[in-house]
Symmetry: C2
Subunit: 685 residues, 2 copies
């Protein structure tokens, strides 16, 4: 019997009150029907989160920086296996509580539209196609490939057009153009829903064209279930339905808000508004059929997770198979591949046998490893510790100095003043490694980024003044400097680029971050990360933060000159690219590309192709259409059939319909910028 049918049958045995109770995220048991209590809320953005010990992989933005969906798929597999292991332990207690279930409210596939957004590090960056393929890989890894059962449910969030400001998220209204809506904001949702049969979608807090997203029939019925073909369930963001009558003022009270959400197709409520479903029903705002539709979807999902069957193969995942050595190794591999080398005058890789000074307020900060929505890995290795272990093992030595606070300049008269120590350490060292930037208390979700002065968001992209002053003072000493920028977002690295001998971007790298940084710094691995974001010079070059038009935003539309463009990243070796023939196929177009490692080190290389719009003003001027990470030994040449899918090529017109480009078009390899492309080819579309 299929799950839909079984779900319908089970739900038909419930009273109306029982049905309504199951639409709350903390669904109570229905003992007479053998239904255990189940709390739907769990998190797995880059590891099982908030449920104790668990592997902690690089933050989502770092996963995107690997430019390697196959690696992200493996992370998704690992995370879901850990979630299953934990669930297998927890379910023995009867009903499972918060953060103990199989329904992960991840990934966050919103577009990192503006670098000030505090939650940007939860996303896969600024590009819809990179977000789509990375998100699809993560969802596929999470959900597994069993024909009958899902390993866990993935949840795409936040649907839709949601990227700050955090401080007004419970009340703001976005009215994007139809082109921006489909070209940018809905692209990855559409892509992943069609490719990956994702179990769930979470509605956003904000309004879209005046209607709260969790109560929008246009969004949830017409676009999500209609145009995209979504067949799963929709959950509200936490408290989002409460916002209808408190933040947005679009509903008079909870019963109206709840009724509007259910009617629109929001099946599950995180928050308390669905406690009013009975009132909504009694006052005629809802019918029992409305309720049935949602509850059946929810029970179909629980059945597909094997909660009511003994033959679910995932029941045999051992209860202790979390935070494992294997997953730590995968986390380290991913962290290595997420580090982006932005400048290198030849100083890197470093010889570990020297005398180093590691300086900066985030060097020994455990928080920068974890990002947000994280677990509690049993072993964490800070950037500083990773460097120390590598150097001391090689007979070198390390002096460490915090140098300053992350943001706070003012030191009480009885407080430690760490600047002099940093200057002494740098003076004594052969080479200085500066670890500067932010931690997730300065950029994050409302309430979570509690050190932010903008409700979780950043006021700008500048490195905090107190850290820049530290950097300037150290730079005056004239020692070689390796600048490690640590953040989950774009920072203004102009001064680092100018004064340091090498610059690396280290997104919140997970529990193994210190080992990974050492792997890269000391040349055990050649760096291969790529920026999933434009690194601007200043937010002055951008529209206001709350402007949702894509005009002059992200590499696709930005008119200024970035410091480091989207997709940028150096290596310890060099590659030459040459295009061969291109061939149209049923599913798109295939371009043969030869990539040769012309340097002296083995390395991974993220092969990227970009399509220029030419004179078609309906398209973004340039956009990513292909990515593939390959490993090439020094001297080897690799011939690659770049299969470009139609979904990568399509663009949205002014009314939001997707169209295929045609005619003769320029393809760039290795850079989104014509002047720095590694190869160029005109193809016929």
């Amino acid at each position: 019997m299929d799950f839909k049918k079984r779900a319908r049958e089970l739900v038909s045995k419930m009273s109306l009150a029982e049905k309504m109770s199951q639409m709350k995220f903390d669904s109570p048991p229905i003992e007479r029907l053998g239904i255990p209590g189940y709390n739907w809320w769990n998190e797995g953005l880059h590891g099982v989160a908030r449920s104790g010990s668990a592997a902690c992989f690089p933050q989502a933005i770092g996963m995107a920086a690997t430019f390697d969906p196959s690696l992200v798929f493996r992370i998704g597999e690992a995370v879901s296996k850990e979630a299953r292991a934990k669930y297998n332990g927890y379910r023995i207690f009867g009903g499972t509580g918060i953060y103990q279930g199989l329904t992960l409210w991840s990934p966050n596939i919103n577009i990192f539209r503006d670098p000030r957004w505090g939650r940007g590090h939860e996303t896969y960056g600024e590009d819809p196609y990179l977000t789509a393929v990375t998100g699809a890989a993560y969802v596929d890894g999470l959900q597994g490939d069993d024909e009958k059962y899902r390993r866990v449910d993935a949840t795409l969030k936040h649907f839709a057009v949601h990227s700050g400001p955090e401080s007004s998220r419970h009340s703001f209204d976005v009215q994007p153009s139809k082109r921006d809506l489909w070209q940018t904001y809905l692209f990855a949702f559409d892509y992943i829903i069609r490719k990956s049969r994702v179990a769930a979608v979470m509605g956003a807090y904000n309004r879209l064209d005046g209607v709260p997203c969790c109560g929008s029939e246009e969004l949830l019925e017409e676009n999500l279930r209609g145009r995209m073909g979504f067949e799963g369930y929709v959950v509200s963001d936490c408290g989002a339905i409460y916002d209808f009558y408190n933040g947005h003022g679009t509903s008079p009270d909870a019963p109206h808000a709840a009724a509007q959400a259910v009617k629109a197709g929001c099946d599950l409520n995180c928050g308390g508004a669905y406690a009013s479903l009975n009132v909504a029903y009694e006052t005629g705002l809802l019918t029992e059929e409305d309720i049935d539709r949602s509850v059946i979807r929810l029970f179909e999902a629980r059945m597909r997770l094997g909660m009511f069957d003994d033959d679910c193969p995932y029941n045999s995942i051992p209860k202790d198979a979390y935070d494992t050595k294997e997953h730590a190794a995968l986390s380290r591999e991913a962290a290595v591949d997420s580090i982006v080398l932005l400048k290198n005058n030849g100083i890197l890789p470093l010889n570990p046998g020297k005398k180093y000074a590691v300086i900066g307020p985030v060097a020994d900060d455990k928080l920068v490893l974890l990002g947000n929505y994280h677990g509690t890995p049993k072993k964490t290795t800070t950037l500083q510790r990773g460097i120390i272990e590598e150097v001391e093992a090689a007979g070198g030595s390390v002096l460490c100095a915090r140098g300053c606070h992350i943001v706070c300049k003012d030191l009480g008269s009885w407080e430690e003043n760490p600047l002099r120590e940093a200057l002494v350490a740098a003076s004594e060292a052969d080479i200085v490694i500066m670890c500067l930037g932010l931690n997730p208390t300065f950029e994050g979700e409302e309430g979570d980024g509690y050190n932010s002065q903008r409700g979780g968001d950043k006021p700008d992209i500048d490195i905090p003044e107190v850290q820049l002053e530290l950097f300037r003072e150290i730079a005056k000493l004239g020692k070689p400097i390796v600048f490690v920028s640590v953040s989950g977002s774009c920072l203004n690295l102009c001064e680092a680029d100018e004064k340091a001998d090498a610059v690396l971007q280290c997104f919140y790298p997970g529990a193994e971050g210190g080992y990974a940084l050492a792997d890269v710094l000391f040349g055990r691995v050649s760096p291969s990360g790529r920026l999933p974001l434009t690194f601007y010079r200043s937010t002055d070059d951008l529209p206001p933060f709350d402007d949702y038009s894509m005009e002059n935003r992200t590499y696709r539309y930005f008119k200024g000159k970035p410091l480091y463009p989207f997709g940028f990243g150096l290596s310890y070796t060099s590659f030459s690219y040459s295009f061969k023939n291109a061939k149209k196929t049923d599913s798109g177009i295939t371009i043969k590309l030869s990539v040769k490692n012309t340097g002296s080190r083995d390395s991974k290389e993220a092969v990227t192709l970009y399509l220029a719009a030419g004179d078609n003003e309906d398209e973004p001027p340039v956009r990513l259409i292909y990515l593939k990470k390959i490993f090439i030994r020094a001297g080897d040449e690799f011939e690659l059939d770049c299969e470009i899918e139609q979904d990568a090529l399509k663009y949205a017109d002014s009314v939001g319909n997707y169209r295929m480009p045609s005619g003769s078009r320029l393809v760039l390899a290795g850079s989104c910028r014509d002047e720095s492309a590694k190869a160029r080819k005109i193809i016929q579309l």
Copy 2:
């Protein structure tokens, strides 16, 4: 020319205003005389503190628990060398600021009178003689043995009779009996001042017999400089002179308070009160001679530190010789020796090849490594990490679970609930290692122990209820449990003793704490720590916290039955003791003692002797008179000449005069309790 004479000469060239300026802890430069600015405030309780990267040794209470003054001496040497290294770096900048100088306001040799005192972990415990010999060793290690120069200045604090409550320290008045004063509160000050030529003493906040300690002529002139023969300088605790007119109400204003302090012999002011010295002078409360006396003392000290000479041998200590590998190794050795094994049913040492669950909220807490008044060691290894590294290297495995918060029971409905994870982890493991207790935010100085609900102090000695509940739940599973108690003070371990297979006390163990705990748990080293405190069953057995009478306090006077007595500590081997002859000498009495390692493991052993008072009611009923840590290989026998010094034997009579005991007296070896002594001998005094 001797330093005193040079100081007098230099001071004679200063104007009165210049002289007064030098009595503030942040002494400004006097450029015309070539005197750089100097901030006297630095800390080195168990490592250079608040000055960035520095080795972090076990907290003072842990140093005392080694029962090994020779080891404490080596720690003192290491700390002072690091302070010099840092000073050599800092002084290049001109004047040295706060926490950059050579005058360490350590050690804290107050008696840990009551286990509720938050700052107790800064002390060497409850016994005057242990405090005296440990403190003397630390001071000797700090100050060095150069004939001309001191490596650093040690500062004995807080003079005197100071041990909480923190919440009333700026106003309380203590009126101890003369016997308690000299037998308990002043004993270690007297001992160290006479043996170690300590550079400085810090006056306490409180009043003694109605007079604020920093303004007491009886205390500072008669007793300290007179009876004890102290020749150094006195510094006020920070803000203590302000307290005269704000907390104690014994002075009308700052000029009167400052004048009283200077007249009494308090040479240096931490705080702002000495800004009023000019007013005090102008109104006739002070003479220039009063000022001169103090300033000359201070400059003599600065000269003795080599601040005005090029031939000071400590100038050649390399600027990078801090937080070194050698000191980390010493820290690990000390941490190992500070761990006290309290119960072992044979489960210890553990086989690292098994499957472990490490459970508890302090297991991965960096704060428990550092204690208070700490530096920022560049590498810290939590208890959990130490265990993981050891076990994984041996092919075993470790599951970790926090289990609960340290104190807070209430979990928000959207918060992680960690109990189930702990139960799962324990169920999956062969052996459970529970790390429970406190961290220094729950017991510490006013303001510093910010999570304490008693202004830094503890309300009682009970393990927080939420942790006990966790322990009880885990214990119900019936797995073998090793209970690691983590705190800087006595906790009530009755339930641990009853239910766990092994119990260890781990005082805040320093940066290498995790490695040290693993060394002990897995048998690389046999434990040899001893309790420097009585482990009571309940504070109900004690007088009120603010009662300063020693009646029914500490092992010397306690009438109840403790859970674990002062000096207690087990080993992985066994020792047999036998007394040989005793012989009076010029300096005391020497007793020959044979100690045999009768077990199968090499081990250190802290040899202790206690003197029973017999029917002399003027003496404490029993007291420590000798300690010596020795290393004995399995099967070996060691013959020890226990040289008991007269200072150990003397006692204070009811008017506070020291007297020597006489007649035939019982000496106990290995325990302060007759029934558990390892050997007994009657000697003639």
